[in-house]
Symmetry: C2
Subunit: 180 residues, 2 copies
Amino acid sequence: MSDPPLRADARRNRARILAAAAEVFDAHGTSASTEEVARTAGVAIGTVFRHFPTKADLLTALMKDLQERLAGRAAALAEEGDGTALFTFFAEVVEYAAGARTVVHLLAVDVGVDRQVAALGAAVEVLLARAGEAGTVRAGVRADEVTALLAAACHGALAAGWTPDLRHRAVARLLDGLRP
Amino acid sequence: MSDPPLRADARRNRARILAAAAEVFDAHGTSASTEEVARTAGVAIGTVFRHFPTKADLLTALMKDLQERLAGRAAALAEEGDGTALFTFFAEVVEYAAGARTVVHLLAVDVGVDRQVAALGAAVEVLLARAGEAGTVRAGVRADEVTALLAAACHGALAAGWTPDLRHRAVARLLDGLRP
DNA sequence: CTAAATTATGAGTCATCACTCATCTTGTCA
DNA sequence: TGACAAGATGAGTGATGACTCATAATTTAG
């Protein structure tokens, strides 16, 4: 069921390609060419297609990376058990989205940050439960609402014209709607 | 300063093209080809380019239409002077965005719903002022925050996976953050 | 160290578009 | 109605970009 291990150079190139893809898509959007990714990775175009038969596969791999990192962070925050962990997580994700602009943006448009963020649903539920116990969240707030607002805020954060200040104020207002 | 009036057939075709563009871009996104728009309009490709020298020009024209309609609606609501006009407007715009999915979506990505929505800034300020007088809005809320949240909600509304029910609840939470 | 298998290379293919232009059609106005 | 200008037509152009494949270079097992 498991494929034979990759050759050393193949493993190295795969990592380089992923790093290059993150950089290129972040800078020029998902419409950037696969060739540009290959150039940035210092690899031939054919190599990129050997590892990721389709451009979508490349995007998907990037997305998986992102999700794992975010889910990990959510778990770590939940661990601490603080009633404000949900709010912290929310703000952090939005900040991340604002920084990694294009990656998140394009994932949103082309593959679905939404599906992405939705995959974090379980993590959000845990955080919401913690907040509920601590009484830091308004009664009746459901996890899917929180997830939806998070997705919307990420979309907004990577929109042109959102200064850091505006972003912080907007997120604050948004979180106000969740507080008792 | 004003161009000579268009010939009758030219006026008719222009209107047909705009209608077709709205329909096609709504169904297949802005990446739909200009040829598809021409076909839907029942017109040759050259005719589209005569009226809109660039695909971006076509998108812009569509956007201008949209903005005028929204600004008009905002003015009408402000006229009524009710303290809840801001909230009504907010919810209506999000509902519209959810329906006209791709048009708004693509405008957002390619030309900027954000710039678009920002152009409604003046309208929002008036509505916010009304709400302030009526005491229906939390003290310290600024117009740019409202506009930002509106843009975010529109982005969210056209995301996959937002059912009407979820959309309504999310918007309600969002507006809760603006209330006293 | 050598052979076989895996991987890398990059010029080339094919499809898709935005956009052009020489030619034909139609509206307008005297 | 006739003639001229404005507009319509659609095959063609050039650019771009995803993806292929025959060949060359590496890695690794024995």
